[in-house]
Every structure is written in structure tokens, then in C-alpha cells.
Symmetry: C2
Subunit: 335 residues, 2 copies
Amino acid sequence: MVTISEVAQLAGVSVTTVSRVINDYPHVSKAKKDKVFWAMDKLGYVPMQAARQMRGSGSQTIGVVVPEIINPFFSYLINAIERTVDKLHYKTLIIQTFGRKQNELTALDYLKRHQVDGIILCALENDWDIIKGYQKYGQIAVCNEYVDEDTIPMVIGDQFNGLRQGTEYLISKGKTKIAYCTGRDSLLLQQRGKNFDSDRYLGFTTALQAHDLSFNPAWLFTNAHSIEDGQAILKQLSQMAQKPDAIITGSDEVATGIVSLAKSLNIQIPQDLSVLGVDDQPLAKFLSYPLTTIRQPITQMGQQVAEVLIDNIKGTTEPAQKIKLDLQIVPRESA
Amino acid sequence: MVTISEVAQLAGVSVTTVSRVINDYPHVSKAKKDKVFWAMDKLGYVPMQAARQMRGSGSQTIGVVVPEIINPFFSYLINAIERTVDKLHYKTLIIQTFGRKQNELTALDYLKRHQVDGIILCALENDWDIIKGYQKYGQIAVCNEYVDEDTIPMVIGDQFNGLRQGTEYLISKGKTKIAYCTGRDSLLLQQRGKNFDSDRYLGFTTALQAHDLSFNPAWLFTNAHSIEDGQAILKQLSQMAQKPDAIITGSDEVATGIVSLAKSLNIQIPQDLSVLGVDDQPLAKFLSYPLTTIRQPITQMGQQVAEVLIDNIKGTTEPAQKIKLDLQIVPRESA
DNA sequence: TCGCTTTATGTAATCGCTGACATCATTATA
DNA sequence: TATAATGATGTCAGCGATTACATAAAGCGA
């Protein structure tokens, strides 16, 4: 491998001079600078990152931790983050946890090792008390999850108002018997500001109460994530004596599952059942019933969290920012 | 940051002994080994990767270069690769090129720097003559692209037979006037074994010839990639005097665009127009017309290319392997 | 022309880790 | 019991880059 000394030798200068040229430091004559560039080019020299890191000069890299990139929500989020990170002259290291706690901790170890200067957590696997301990090794920011900690920057969508407005939308369409799906266990839905599912749920119930509508507990579906979950939910629904006339899903996946089975179960959408998705995934508008859905501000989330984190890394900002972005209803045919 | 010396000191042994414990070398007494583990745990020690790399002990990392992870084809491919790479105790570094040549070269520089031990290219941006030069810095494998070079392992789908069979399928449904979409320029379609588009096209024309069908050059659509491209194509088609009765798209995206506009243009699918996709993307079956499509063996491709590359890194195999995997027709409603 | 600042360049220590080599201690073999 | 082999442990050089420090040359005002 080509080293800085080889470049120095070929250019007829010292390694220091080469280092100065590489890092664009002053006090190098035009003549030598040119020679160095020529030598670097001739040898195809690329500085070894590992050696630089050893000198403590940071990694110029930020880690982005997500559950899985095959989930479009996260791949679009990464996309937004990476474009911003690029713009700020950092590199992005994508780390998938596949939902495993251990993988999240391994990801955080990258901070200890100085492999990354900062980390964006786009999902939380471990309890915050555990993650907290890693703060001393580098900057951490959280995106799309709640963290009740002053020292951590956080960028989230305003789930409470998003769902409140979504519910209002259904009510404005004359729907009164609204079912509700969530990815969590039911037990965890009651405490505002703890996680986005509970915020959503409270937005939902708040809108209901504002219109004096009651919620039938039989219409609460928990642990719903996938298309298959959505299909299972619709099957259950279709066999109920008391049927809802609308359903709010926790994601476009679940909504996709529901609309995919409607025809075969002889359920008319949206007349018999309005279906409201969340996310506005790219293909939501091309489904058998184009989804009415609550769009998440993915692009801005990614952009802002990247900016805030890098600001913090550079030490240029004050207390951790908490940024809340608006969701937006996208009316299509399913509701 | 916690260093190996601090661990050594706390454990009351030399750094070498700690190093031996970390790397599971022999000749360390049980007693000292336990002490070292205890000290490592107590201090929360994680070896610094950069320092290890400097000693030439490889990075235990392989780079996966893709155009964009928001493309489900690639995110699923990465998924398959990463799971295999994990299993073989390597790490995965995902690198997006966003279709830019320079980004591909930067990715290849990771080899020079010893940031990765090998690279899987899942798309080719630069001419092969340029990429070739990087072989001396580390192992390179190519996935889903043609490379006419003995020294490079390559894993691809059998596009020729896939498209031949897909075309046969349409013919078996009574279709005789078949249009064709490709992502490339028309000029590049004629040479077998050069890229997968040309293989596909030749598979298509081969099937046509076998049934004495001719191909109307007006029905060739080039540079078709996105949903919007698909929509544009259908609009063009609908205004032709001579209309095809089937269309083979280069991807499920293009197929999605076509079926999404069919209803509003008053075109019945598949009666008026059969639409054949390629890829079998996860949502293909949930579209307004569930797509009949040619499934790519993504999982096996990812798995095999990872295995072959890591085999090569370890130096355990003979000449570069060329692996060709079968595509499979998934009949649904669009054709 | 003299001292003083500024610019240009080089020497060598250092970062954390591994591994070749050296040194004892212990056990096996003759 | 003497000697060789093996096991346990330590010392220290070196990987490739940065950077504190040293030094020489050039610029500059009086």
C-alpha cells in the first residue's frame, strides 16, 4: 500500500509537508504543493483512515442505526440523513439492528472505538438507562422516537396532532365507529410523551372525545406491524357482530393488508370501511385502493436530525434541541 | 478512551497478555485470563479497530456498493448479503453511489485504505477497465451485473432464460403483439453477455422468433426506470394506431406505472394489455392489478456472492466463480 | 545592516495494538 | 538427574498518519 512517506520521497519533500498539503494547512510553497499533488496522483495515494483515527482526528463519520433497511420508512429516512451528512462533509455508516438489543449496543460501541463521531438512533431497542451510558463516548441523537432526557437532541413527528387530525378527517366523512391498530402492546398506550404510539393513541382518543364518540375496546388491535397482520385484522373485523365503519392503522403496511383482502371479503372501501394509513410510503397510491394516509415528514426529519447532530459534534450549539414536525393527511381513495 | 494498557494495568499483567486474551491465543493461564476479562468488563473496554487495522490484521469488513437503498431490489439484496456476511463473522459496510461514477471510485478506495477486505459491486457505474485497476488492492465481486473477466467472481440471474420464459408465457396466453421496455439505450441491446439488459432482450427476441412472431420497433421503449416512466409509456401506447396486446417491462416499477394508469385510460388489464413485471417486489401483489412478474433470486444472489467473496478473501478457492441463478415466473392478474 | 517577525521545511514522538523475540518456569524424556 | 521441550509471560519495534518543536530562510522597518 502507498504510504505518505512514499509520496514524500517521490515529491522530494518531508512527510510533514505532504501532511500539510493533504490537510490544507498553510506555509507550503506553491512549488512543493504542486509536486506533492503530482506525486499523490502518480502513486494513487489515499490516506489511510485508520492511521488518522489513531491520532485522534475523528472519523468524520456518523452512524445511523435502524431496525432494517428493507422497511421503506427507514430507507427513505436514511436517504434524507445521508444526503445531509454528505453535504456537511461527513460519511454515513448504516447499521441495522434487526430488532436485536445486542446489535444496538454493538452499534453504540462504535462510539467508544472512535469509529464514528456520533450516532443517530432511529429506533430504540434497549431501555434508555442503558443507552444513556454511552453518551460520554460521543454524541447521540434520536430520530422518530421519544427520549425524555434534556441532554439528547430529538427529532420527531407530531404524532399526537397527526392522529388527532386523521381521526377528525374520518369523522368529517361521517364515520363514527372507528377501530384502531397499534404496533405496541395495549398496556403501553396510556402515557403521553413516552413513545409515539401512546401519543398517537391519545391524539385519536382526544379527537373522539371532542365529538362525544366512544371507543369500543374490541376494536383495538395491538402488535400490528406487517401486511399479514393487516389481513388478519380484517378477517377478525369481518366476523364481528358490531362492525366499525373505519379503521386507523399504525402503518401503510397494515393498511395494505386490510385493503388487499377487502374485495374477497366483500367489503367496500371506503363505504363499508374507511382505511387510514400512516407514513405515505411510495407505493401507497398505487394499491388496489389508493391509501388515504398520514404522511410523515421523513425528509425533514432526516435532514434536521443530521444537522443537529453534526452541530453538536462540532460543539457549536447550546442545549439539546427537541424538534417536532407536522404530519400531513394525504386524501386518496381508501378513506 | 480505555486502552489496552489500562486493562493490563488493572489486571496486573502485560499488554501482550491482554492482547492474547482478546484474540484468544493460547499460553495464558486460566487465572490471568479471568483477571483480564474482569478488568475489560470493569473498564468497559472495546479494542480500537483503527489500531488493529494499522497492524494489518484486516478490517473484517466487506463493502456493498449499490445505487440507492430506497430501491427495494437493492435493500433486499443487501439484506441477504448482510445476513450471510454476519454468519461468516464479517461486518457489512453499505455504500450508496446514487448513480455517480465518482462515488463508486470513492467506494473502491476503501479497498486501498484497508477499510474493507473486499467489495461487492451490485451495479457498475464506471467502465470495467477503470474498476479493474482496483483489484490489486483487494477482492472484488460483482452481483447482478455482467463482467467479462476471468478473475472476478460474479453472481447473476439468468436473464436470458427468464425473459425467454416470460415471453413464452405471454404467448401461451395468446398474446402476439408484444411491446418491450428496457432501462438502457437501444444501442446497447444487441450483444449477448455484455449486460443483463441485452441478455433480457435477446431472451425476448429468441422466444419471439421461436413462434415466428415479429417485433415492431415502435414498441421498444428505452431508458424506462421509474413509475413515472411507466405512466408515460402507457400514454404513448394508448395513442398508437397499432397497439400491442402485451408489454414486458424492465422492472416492477415501470409495470406499476402502467397498471396505475390503465383504468383512467380505459384499458383493460390483462384483456387489452398484459403487463409483465420483473423483480417481484414486495408490494407487487397488492397493486390495483396484482403484477404477474419474473422473480429475481435475490436471496440466493446475496447469499452466494457473499460466500464467494469471503471465500476469496480467505484465499480458500480456486478461479473466480461465475454463478447463474434461475428466474421464476410468478403468475398473478396483470398477465 | 541589525534584530525581529513571518514563512517554509524537517525531525521525531506519539496514537493503540500486535507479534517477533527473549526469558524464565515447569514438565517430559532419556 | 541432566537436558530438552513446552508453557507462561514480558519487552519493544513498528504499522501510517499528525503535530509539537526546532531550524533555516526570507521579509521588513529603523
